[in-house]
Amino acid sequence: MNTSNQGSSFSRGNNTQADSNTKTFVLPDKCFEQRAACVFRSGNKFSIYPRSQTVSKAPVSIDNKILDVRQDILLFIPILRKLVNESNGTYISLQKAAEAAKTTDNQVEFLKLSRQYRSIIRVCIESLQESAAMEQDGVKKCNLLSYITIFYSVECIWHLCEILYIDNIPGDVVLPFLLEWVRFHFPCHEQTAAQMLEACERGSEDHPEYWDTVIGMIVQGRVDVARALMKLHSSVDSNEFKLVDNSLRSMPVYSVYGGISTGEFTISWKHWQAECRSKITSRVLTSQPKLELIMKLIIGDYAAFESIRGSYSSWFDLLGGWVMFTAPWTRRHELGAPAAACAGMATPTHAPRTHLDQMVRALLDGDLHQVIHEIQQISDNGWFATHLTDILFHCGKLKILDKHQNNVTARLRDSLILEYGCLLMEHKSLWSAGLSYLGSCPPEGLRRAELALERMPIETEAKAMRVIAEAKKYGLNGVVRTVCACASSRLLRAGRIGGALTWGTRGKHGAACGRAAHAALRQYAARGELPAQDALLTATPAMLPHHPLLLAVKYSDFHRLYKSREFKKAGKLLVSLITSKLAPDYFWETLLLDTLPLLESDELIFSSEDTIEIMLCLELKSSNLSAEKADLLRLAAVRNLARASLADEDNSNSE
């Protein structure tokens, strides 16, 4: 199908004034009468506050209030969260099916998934009905009932859409499917009929709904049921009844597999209608007006249909019957004219056209563009528009052009999915579902996911790990880094240096690792107690992207060696740390003073070269030490140098 878009009919308010979709809300407080300003918080939440652009002349006592505003999201109520989660699964399967459809025809799979969506809607309506029945609170009950109305429309439209665009219909002859749709959505006559047939009482015409039910069965195409009901009438044996029953029985039924051509069928069907018409004109039925009405209906008499229109809530209740008795061979894309005929029937009450009417009409007219526009107006927060557009798009049944005749179908589908995905991302729990929508819509979806994920408040490491796992799934490495850096920063504030190091390492975030390592070294320099030793000692080489961290790891290894009395090794490490000059200024004192016990130990630790290196650095960095400490070190170093030189000499002598 091909719908060209006149201008931008999706945004009726290109010129925003008098836009019927703009709603006005009352600010509940007087303090906003003089001034108001706004700032976005996150998602759909924002604040309004009485901002002043200028300074008040004199300090005044002001009633300052801030108003937190957020959109009320229907889908976030517990019952509908089931719908959100379950349909998310179907959506994901559909994307996989669409991927497979690139190589093979996958219409059967699409139909299966469409039915799955419908069954999800059905379950949702049933659980809404169940809780509406149990609800005591009037307002809540009322809300639940309006949700039922919403999803009832959704179900009805989806079903019709499935028939017209997704289902595989032999020869495109739509009548049996159309009748099925009418019966499914307007089951009341069928239920009454079933009751009467079960009771099986002669003289059922005393039932107040007897004739309505019989006629209802006729216009829903249940001719057999109508005949069975007529057999319960006390005058069933009268000629009039026999005559009508005979006409109903002999009605030709078209079937693609019937073995006759459309032409042949048309001839026999017209012949049958002519016979029926002659029976009406012969006036044999005047004594039985209801039977006459039935005869008029089955010859597709417009006035007859119009006369019963008042008994039905909407014109499309009659659509199946109208097609059946005027053109049973109608193909699925030829329903515009019958729809116009039914919709044009006058109603005694002049009830206003409902939104559902509009949607059904647009659908039968084949104007999918208008259909999507209409279903966007349903207050289901975009659930229906998103999922229906997506499935129609993947079935290749949607083609929407902008005013320049560019195909914007994919853009429309993407924009709906992005919006729906972002909506779910705002929910504390449903973000996981939202992410799978955004993830299926690259590149913008991933960018939006990135923005939303990094801003997801993270209270626990479990959540951080989950967010990171999801981000990795979609290749959002920026999110991984940010989440890790923020977790690291949070732990650092709590004094958890080991944790801060770990998160910095996880995010391969040099700056975060550096901050944590600095914190560890500073803490040691200040308190003489090396924190996070367990983390530093088991650090793997991969954990060394940053100099301060390298220093912290090596330094903690020095402590380990020293404690296990491996002084030689400890001394070697310490000298290498000193000569590498990795240490920040605040740590030089610590590092240099650590040489003192080794310089003065009974066993000779430092060679003369080592000692000279230490002395060199001591002079280079003496500004970081007090003069007193520096002198102490100089003395120790000189003494050690003397010892070492002697030992060197002994060694060379002994060789």
Binding site: T460, A469, A494, R496, G498, G499, A532, D534, A535
Partner: protein
């Protein structure tokens, strides 16, 4: 009968799920603990079949107990009492009525902010129970041993880890093993007063967290740990401190492990990648019972492929956070706000 899987959407992400044990018969009621929502709770559910389809059972909620923060663990103290840890640092003891499961859970004891960062909240990430002693761990790196009967803290290891702890398990009454965010495992002797682990080793070299620890029901010296990377490590504590076996199992983090209560050859695991598997461990256990009672390696690496792994249901598109098995029935709780009941499991 083939495995029968059936999902129910519950409008909460389920982090922990536990059958409520019954004597002699199959359990029919279970607890769920939710996470990652504005309001989290512990719910009691019962399985009910409706009139039309008698063999299909649906969970129906019986009671709800609201908690602050995420539910991070639920473990039984005895058949009617559970210990619950939450992400705001609390641990609670709750009791369910034996006579009327519909009546609300009763709080017996609560340790408020047991784990904390001073005034700031800190998650109590897990707990494990052995004969009434509860070992709790948190992101603060502390270990607490609680006495469930007296409602007191009987032992503390402050600063057991400079990193956050994510898994804990009693090896025996006097020993617990903890695992941290980096996969650093430490064994603590609860009889000593020094803040040093009796032993410590790394789960793997990949810096990934040890998400769960479990000991073998009949051979307590055998310890299993699940990793955030999805792999599974097995140790024989008698042999050495390195994992005997490191199995590349799930494609993302292992969330929970359980041995079948009546068949120690069956192990269940669930994962962030949406998988729930059962493992046939029979091959492994045989190799320990050498003819001359010699301790042999628990599972030779080359036998890894010989192990039987079955998928209990098709992979889910969202993480499976928790599982619990009772006789032939397994339930699991997921991040797509559903619980799945798997029936007819042969053990």
């Amino acid at each position: 009968m083939p495995l029968d899987v059936q999902g129910t959407f519950v409008s909460q992400k389920i982090n922990k799920i536990r059958w409520i044990p019954e004597e002699y018969i199959e359990a029919n009621c279970f607890f769920t603990g939710s996470w990652d929502d504005d309001v989290n709770s512990i719910k009691v559910w019962t399985l009910e079949s409706n009139q039309e389809e008698e063999d299909i059972e649906y969970p129906r909620p019986l009671s709800e107990f609201i908690v602050d923060g995420d539910v991070t663990e639920i473990q039984f103290v005895d058949s009617t009492k559970i210990a619950v840890s939450t992400s705001n640092g609390d641990v609670k003891l709750l009791e369910i009525s034996v006579y009327d499961k519909k009546s609300p859970l009763r709080e017996i004891h609560s340790w408020k902010n047991l784990h904390n960062f001073g005034l700031d909240q800190c998650s109590c990430t897990s707990l494990h129970i052995l004969d009434g002693d509860i070992a709790t761990i948190g992101e603060d790196g502390n270990v607490n041993i609680l006495n469930s009967r007296r409602g007191e803290i009987s032992y503390r290891i402050v600063g057991a880890d400079s990193c956050s702890l994510h898994s804990v398990c009693f090896i025996k009454h006097t020993e617990v093993i903890t695992g941290n965010l980096r996969g650093h495992m430490k064994i603590w002797d609860l009889r000593t007063n020094i803040n040093k682990p009796a032993a410590s080793f790394l789960l793997a070299g990949d810096e990934m967290a040890a998400t769960c620890i479990l000991n073998h029901p009949t051979q307590p010296h055998i310890i299993l740990a699940g990793s955030e990377s999805g792999s599974l490590a097995v140790w024989d504590l008698r042999v050495n401190s390195f994992p005997t076996t490191l199995l590349n199992a799930h494609s993302a983090g292992v969330t929970e492990m359980q041995f079948h209560p009546e068949n120690p050859h069956k192990l269940f695991t669930s994962s962030v990648s949406g998988e729930i598997w059962d493992w046939n461990m029979e091959g492994m256990t045989k190799s320990t019972q050498g003819p001359d009672n010699q301790i042999t390696t628990w599972l030779p690496l080359e036998e890894k492929n010989a192990m039987m792994v079955n998928s209990l249901m098709p992979p889910l598109h969202k993480p499976i956070n928790t599982l619990h098995c009772d006789k032939g029935k397994i339930i699991c709780g997921t991040d797509n706000e559903a619980v799945y009941l798997i029936k007819n499991f042969k053990y």
